[in-house]
Symmetry: C2
Subunit: 400 residues, 2 copies
């Protein structure tokens, strides 16, 4: 219903009006496109959320600083294949230099350029190669090149993760577009999560940031591939107003925007776990009956990120005992005598009692786990993926 | 130096005077011994620490209750292969019934018998078979049968984990013995950790419990195989006084006892990670320069239990970037500009700067990681193991 309103030929983060995106190969990766550019034709309101890791790439520090000061943004450059993390003061200088180079190339102020990165840790960028690559990037990337952007930001993840949606406000149409990269690396190193959202709505900065925080909490912050938080994670939003529609909380169109925005992040977040390293199935964990929302989240994440649960799901084994154990150590209060656990709609454990059930979970794209803690009314949903030998293989290969 | 004082023919938990141990096959497991009995010739002071998991086997509830009330203990029975967890009120009744059966068989009060269990979750014990097995257990297990006890408590772990030590106090000798089971399961289910320590010293209950808590915090609580806490974990200590030596804090022999006791738990804990499911190498993570002891512990455990670090260690890849990322998300304060990371004695990252180093970690029994956080003086050591495809294989096999 929303999709038909996305104009033909527009894709992902270039679905909203006034955004273009492309990528080139600069030589950070061996062969694939590795330098991705998104540009807004007019300065966009920009907000972001950033990794909580104390060991952070300087690209995170610089982006957080400039967005925190409320700088309007005209371009996003993503270096894919090298995270520029643990690179000391030189890595910080490199970030500022690259940002300035992008600004020169595009004819905008450095503060209007955000730089993001993903890839191996502990190696400085090949800056000269990257700057040579910049020269081959079009100053105004055409909308039809957007798939190249989506492809370039991937490292070892296999599938592009995109979203494009739209909704009407009066006789106008507002678009929301999104791009993400998930867990994978060109050399096994770090499962960086990047998310980028664009919209042609005009939205005031504070409201956009509130909305982003709320939506990330319900989506990206509830997924887990392996429990490791990257040095480079960021989710950024750019709102350029090209639709001519101005949106504010509690006014016309806001709820539709909020729904579309959340759907965008939800789609991207689920795409990230589906494409988790070595993943063969997605795991959806719903927890109800929790004392508080926070406890429901903790319980759902504990199950979705338990190695034992994930390995069982890999074997299509309805091993509810491991789910019970993960809930019990999650820190969420629960009542063992009313604890209930269902897998794919069948209760294997109900009000503290074992019930017979199918001995095997059928092979499918998503396995659904439902847990009721029996102590309250709060609920939450987390997404994860199974743990496969392929995950170990990917992450134990010699990295140099 | 300590070992020669252990009498010939005495092993593990039967190394101290006045303790015997044995096991039989009752039919909980298919073939191997599964019913293990330890007996003290005289009532022993007994203390324990128990799993923090809210989903707990009733054997944990019952043991914690009786030891909490200060009951002296004459026997320990371990059922191996079935955890009696998530078995509802019937599981609780089964525990009390089995405890009473053991007491009748041995001619002691039920409160003098502790029952422990490990194995699959969600299945009731085959109580009649277990009680038939009891009839074949000797009322006074001979000391030379102790290896059978050690073998019986294993599930899928491969090697018996034992300790036997001694030290002189005046012209007498005090012994400390220990047994543990680690991560593994007869059917893939739960990585229960059990630890049992015996001593022929006479020790007052409160002092013994303090010592146990302190030593467990430094040993068992700093190991991780897969981050999942079992429903059945317990570490128990039995002190029967048969050496004729009475020990109290700040009096003669106490420091030697404390050292021997801690060495016992440390040996058992390291044996547990060495024999972790699918493990091919042990990981020792020392953290220094932390702001507080608690933060040092958090940082060390975060590294030792990171899937990405563990997978890298499996591949003998000195992937210090993943170690930095794990430290950064651990919750411990650190100074990125003075952070240092060494693997096997070589600094790959020193005061926030990358340094060249060997590209491969040699194959060895233990990989040593040293991290300095650069913010304080506190330190801690954690032990883990690598993450192998074998771990996934063990834990994804169909469990019924």
């Amino acid at each position: 219903m929303a999709l038909p309103m996305v104009s033909e030929g527009r894709f992902g983060i270039a679905a909203p009006e006034g955004f273009g995106a492309t990528a080139v190969h600069a030589g950070v990766k061996r062969r694939k496109p590795d330098l991705a550019l998104m540009r807004s034709e007019t300065p966009a309101t920009a907000v972001g959320v950033f990794t909580q890791n104390l060991v952070r790439s300087p690209v995170v520090d610089v982006a957080q600083d400039q967005l925190g000061r409320g700088e309007a943004v005209e371009a996003l450059l993503v270096v894919s294949g090298n995270a520029n993390a643990c690179t000391g003061p030189e890595g910080y200088e490199d970030t500022l230099r690259l940002r300035a180079s992008v600004a020169r190339r595009l004819g905008v102020r450095p503060e209007a350029v955000v730089v993001s990165a993903t890839g191996i840790i502990g190696h400085r960028w090949p800056l000269e190669r990257i700057e040579q690559g910049l020269e081959r990037l079009p100053v105004h990337p055409p909308v039809e090149d957007a798939p190249l952007f989506h492809e370039a930001i991937l490292t070892t993840d296999h599938r592009e993760k995109s979203y494009a949606g739209a909704f009407p406000v009066g006789d106008r149409v507002v678009h929301v577009g999104g791009a993400a990269k998930g867990s994978g690396m060109i050399h096994p190193n770090m499962a960086t999560t990047l998310g980028f959202v664009t919209t042609d709505a005009q939205v005031e900065r504070a409201a956009l940031l509130d909305l982003l925080r709320e939506a990330v909490d319900e989506t990206f912050n509830l997924i887990s591939v392996d429990g490791d938080t990257s040095t480079n994670d960021m989710v950024l939003v750019f709102a350029n107003g090209a639709s001519g529609v101005r949106l504010s909380p509690r006014e016309e169109g806001w709820e539709a925007f909020r729904a579309e925005f959340t759907r965008c992040l939800d789609t991207l977040a689920r795409a990230v776990v589906t494409d988790g390293e070595g993943a063969t199935t997605r795991l959806k964990v719903e927890v109800g009956g929790a004392a508080t929302r926070e406890e429901a989240r903790r319980a759902a994440r504990a199950v979705a990120s338990s190695n034992l649960v994930k390995a069982a799901m890999h074997g299509h084994d309805p091993n509810w005992g491991r789910i019970a154990a993960a809930l019990g150590r999650s820190g969420a209060r629960l009542d063992p005598t009313s604890l209930s656990i269902a897998i794919d709609g069948h209760y294997y454990y109900r009000h503290g009692r074992v019930r017979p059930g199918p001995e095997r979970i059928p092979v499918q794209e998503e396995i659904h786990v439902y847990c009721h803690l029996g102590v309250g009314e709060a609920s939450a949903t987390a997404y994860g993926c199974d743990l496969s030998s392929e995950y170990v293989r990917i992450n134990s290969r010699y990295h140099t």
